[in-house]
């Protein structure tokens, strides 16, 4: 392997200073980064290990009703936090539908947000990829692309963001807390990930040295606990990325939808918030017709980027199903096959 420096700073400030240097990158669990390094896709000069920093692994309930999740909380610990799962059930379900149990034990909240696309042409260093090597071209565009983006893509890049976790977080208006060389700031999750445009190599709003220290769910996110689901269609029951996924969260009052939240995964370079669909659901009864209408609105701008036109129809159907499941009410327990269309199958072993 390429030689690299490994530093383990003692404080967030030291970490930020160390990571602001050219060629440096943060290392948390490394469930994605180490694979990228072994595949020679990422060749950092310096790894700044943040896993020993204090104060980043807590789940705090703030006075205003927000929840603050430290960036180093593991996916498994967060999903299995009973209070968290009860209050933000779609988030817990999404977490448990991702990767494998072993990976979830290691992977962190902050790392999950910044995982890289699973586009095979990004991983294959012999292929042209504008994300890996700006200006080189995109071999996915006319290649094997049946799982690629149908929303927000450009001729430069048709990759998708693979995270499950981000999808319900986005629906719930999560806020990202960042420590950077210029101090602390926070941005909406929707602003964290960028669409490719002509600069697919710029994947996020983070600047060199920026460290995600926490994810915050605002008080309003609690209002959806009774009607929130995550649904993920994939090619096997576990350890597979979404072909398409959706997080649906409803606040239902007096038989009408007071507020709807909807986000899609696996369709774009970022988790995709479907605000137009949310708008048509506001104030209407949770009916199949309303959900169909929402599904059409959610995919209005979708277009195939290759052999993936089916993903648009699939996404519509997933939206309808996710909204239907959410309207039916959050189950008392997270299903043994989380987020699966087969979640209701009795006797299923845990994925």
């Amino acid at each position: 392997m390429k030689q690299f420096d490994y530093v383990r700073p003692a404080t967030v400030a030291e970490a930020v200073a160390a990571a602001a240097q050219p060629g440096a990158t943060y290392l948390a669990a490394g469930t994605n980064l180490l694979d990228l390094m072994k595949g020679n896709v990422s060749r950092p000069d310096r790894l700044v290990d943040v896993t020993h920093l204090d104060g980043l692994d807590g789940i705090e309930h703030l006075a205003d009703g927000s929840l603050r999740i430290g960036a180093l909380v593991s996916n498994a610990d967060l999903a299995h936090d009973a209070e968290f799962a009860k209050t933000y059930p779609a988030v817990a379900e999404a977490l448990l539908s991702g990767a494998s149990a072993q990976l979830r034990n290691a992977a962190t909240v902050g790392g999950n947000l910044l995982q890289r696309t699973r586009c095979a042409y990004f991983y294959d260093t012999a292929s042209r990829c504008n994300k890996r090597e700006p200006g080189s071209g995109c071999d996915a565009r006319d290649g094997e692309n049946r799982t690629h983006a149908v929303l927000g893509w450009s001729e430069s890049c048709i990759a998708t963001h693979p995270s499950d976790f981000c999808v319900p977080l986005l629906a719930l208006d999560a806020i990202i807390e960042i420590e950077g060389p210029k101090g602390r700031r926070e941005i909406a999750l929707d602003e964290l990930h960028r669409l490719p445009g002509n600069t697919p190599e710029r994947e996020s709003a983070l600047e060199p040295g920026d460290l995600i220290v926490a994810v915050r769910l605002p008080p309003a996110a609690r209002g959806f606990a009774a009607h929130a689901r995550y649904l993920k269609v994939r090619e096997r029951t576990s350890y597979a990325f979404a072909i398409v996924s959706a997080a649906a969260a409803l606040r239902i009052e007096n038989g009408k939808i007071a507020e709807a939240r909807l986000a899609l995964g696996g369709v774009a370079a970022k988790p995709w918030r479907a605000r137009a669909a949310e708008d048509v659901l506001k104030g209407v009864a949770p009916t199949a017709d309303a959900f169909q209408e929402a599904a059409w609105r959610a995919l209005t701008d979708a277009k195939p980027s290759g052999d993936n036109a089916y993903k648009i129809e699939l996404a519509r159907r997933i939206v309808v199903r996710a909204l239907t499941l959410a309207a039916a009410g959050t189950p008392a327990r997270i299903p043994a096959l989380p987020a699966s269309p087969f979640a209701s199958t009795s006797g299923a072993i845990h994925a």
């Binding site: 042409y121 096997r236 845990h350």
Partner: protein, 753 residues
Amino acid sequence: MPELNLTSAPAHLRHGSSIGQPLTRRDGVLKVKGQATYAADNHPPGMLFAVIAVSSIAHGRVTSLDVAAAKRHPGVVDVMTPDHKPELAIDPEIKTNPFVFRMEVLQSNEVRYANQPIAVVIAETLEAATEGAVLLAPRYEILPALVGLDAGESYVPPVVGVGNPAENHHGDVAAGLASADKQIDATYETPAQYHNAMEPHAIVAHWNGDNLQIDMPTQGLMLSLARVAELFGVAHDNIHIRSPFLGGGFGSKGLMAGPPALGIMAAKLAGRPVKLVLRREQMYGPVGHRAPTRQRLRIGADAEGRLTALDHHARTVSSTFDDFYEPAADASHTLYAAPAIRTSHDAVRVNTGTPLFMRAPGEATGSIALESAIDEMAWACGMDPLAFRLKNYAEVEPITGKPFSSKALRACYDQGAARFGWAERSLQPRQMRDDAGLLVGWGMGTATFPALMFQAEARATIRRDGSGAMEIGAHDMGQGAWTALAQIAADAVGLDIDRVNFKAGTSDLPDAGIAGGSAHTATAGAAIHSAGAAVIAKLADLATNDERSPLFGAGNTGVIARDGRLIRRDDEGRSESYAGILARAGVAEVEARGTGAPNPAAMEEYAMHAHGAVFAEVKVDPELGQIRVTRMVGAFAAGRIVNPHLVKSQLFGGMIWGQSFALHEEAITDRRSGRIMNANLGEYHIPVNADVPPLDVITVEEHDPHVNALGIKGVGEIGITGSAGAVANAVWHATGVRVRRFPIRIEDLLTQT
């Protein structure tokens, strides 16, 4: 290698003989404790690490390698290239026998497929060698890659599989189709698949003068040894290969491939022991794979649902430089009676590593197409798929007309269907739903695999302390040879299994042939059985010719061996212990050899196959198209079952592989570059635990007096056949959508709601 500490069988399971007992793996504790030494676990003093650099193009030539940059990297010792390598004793392009495949051992700068080895970096550490390989930064002259089943002009290969004719027929297919009341004409496609054994191909090679010590997983110790000997010009006796455990092989470790040869070359070049282990993605090229196929089936049936003709044509691919042809259409030779059957193959050449045997080669690919087509024909005839299969049951092998040596397939159908509850199935598709509204489908397939025998030899010893030894260079790929063959050995020498020192897995032992073709237990078992009989005969000679023995005068055939004693057959009260016989005779031990081999006379007279019936239930989300297998029952008749526990595991594994074939596995090849885009276990999907449903295996009793002395047919591969088609047919029954391209994908089922 130290003696293996194999654990004892639980005593309470014994009822007189070892064969038939469901013993757990005797090497299980070693494996669980990490004490089973796989090839890459060996670290001889002074060992270096070798890492292969592979081509990123599928066709062309390497025009430059930055050897200097690699050598400058700290820890890199040497870089082996076409210009700097030890000479081989023969040209690796020469096929010295039909089981030699061409390999890339840096004989030129030509690139003929993606992931072909183009250089080897040798270093003090794995990390240094890995980075050295990156620093080579190869440059290429790129030529257009031939990709896919339509890559070029097709041709009829001289043979398919192992020496099978590419075309075969009986009866008049055209007339049979013309006279049919119902016909189907359907084309199915199966993708390239890779063996993906858990243990990557690995070698630790250690030259000591002219002696060569090799640790390497192999399914064929002596075939590998012979190939190494001719490549390196070393006498057989100077080569020692150890392969006590394989982490799976599935056909990809049967014959010597290029990468282990490169490890031996690297050790020679460096003058130190070298370890070379393939990375996962490097297994997608130089070590074989299952070729893609496109299969057209034309079937006719009369008004009663009797087949009038069966025409099965398979298109496949081979590499541009060697020949292996997936014998997919041959699956139609065995299963269904028809007055006219034709099977044929053609092929195109593509820029790929040469395809190879992969678990049930031909049978697996052919089975999913044939079983799908039979299901389509049954539906066209308005018949239940099981009733249709019974209507067309082959009482004799269809093309040859030979009687079967045994065939308990009817019992498999009966018992499997009863266990599954098949009688409740709706004839029409898309009729069944579960409580949650999911579509439910039931499908079935017939399983078959030939009962093969190869050549093997074993050596049996009875020692003065009353213990025994059985030595045979057999191979445990994880299937349980350490246990099953030891059970046969125990019975062969009339001892408790813990009193027999069973040795296997090294090349200095008698040749056990190859662990392939589902024939290893039968072949090695026959040799063991024969060696045991021979050593007992010697022991009996000592006793029955000695007037001081209670067995005096009994004659060779007059005694039986049991629990360490020879016993007069006609008078169980007269017996003598092995120890007693040897002590009085004043010899330390008696030893004898035995062989296992096919019986040409029986093969001439009988068709020999294992059979089975697999029933599958799937559920499909009606709107979203995601599929889940929820239940499978397989009933298999495979002659004598040596160890029911291990056999069930083999059949479970095969059935899961069948599910994988129908729903998951596919090497995604870029249509332009010929590169495989999912060469890793994250993206090359196989079922994970959560995908595997409750599996139920029934082993149907079957006595076969003809296949071999022990009546063993083998179970290594049959589980895939039938299962893949059963799952595919269940998907049709659930949805009413017939998908003919495998694996079945979500988008295939989105056509209707």
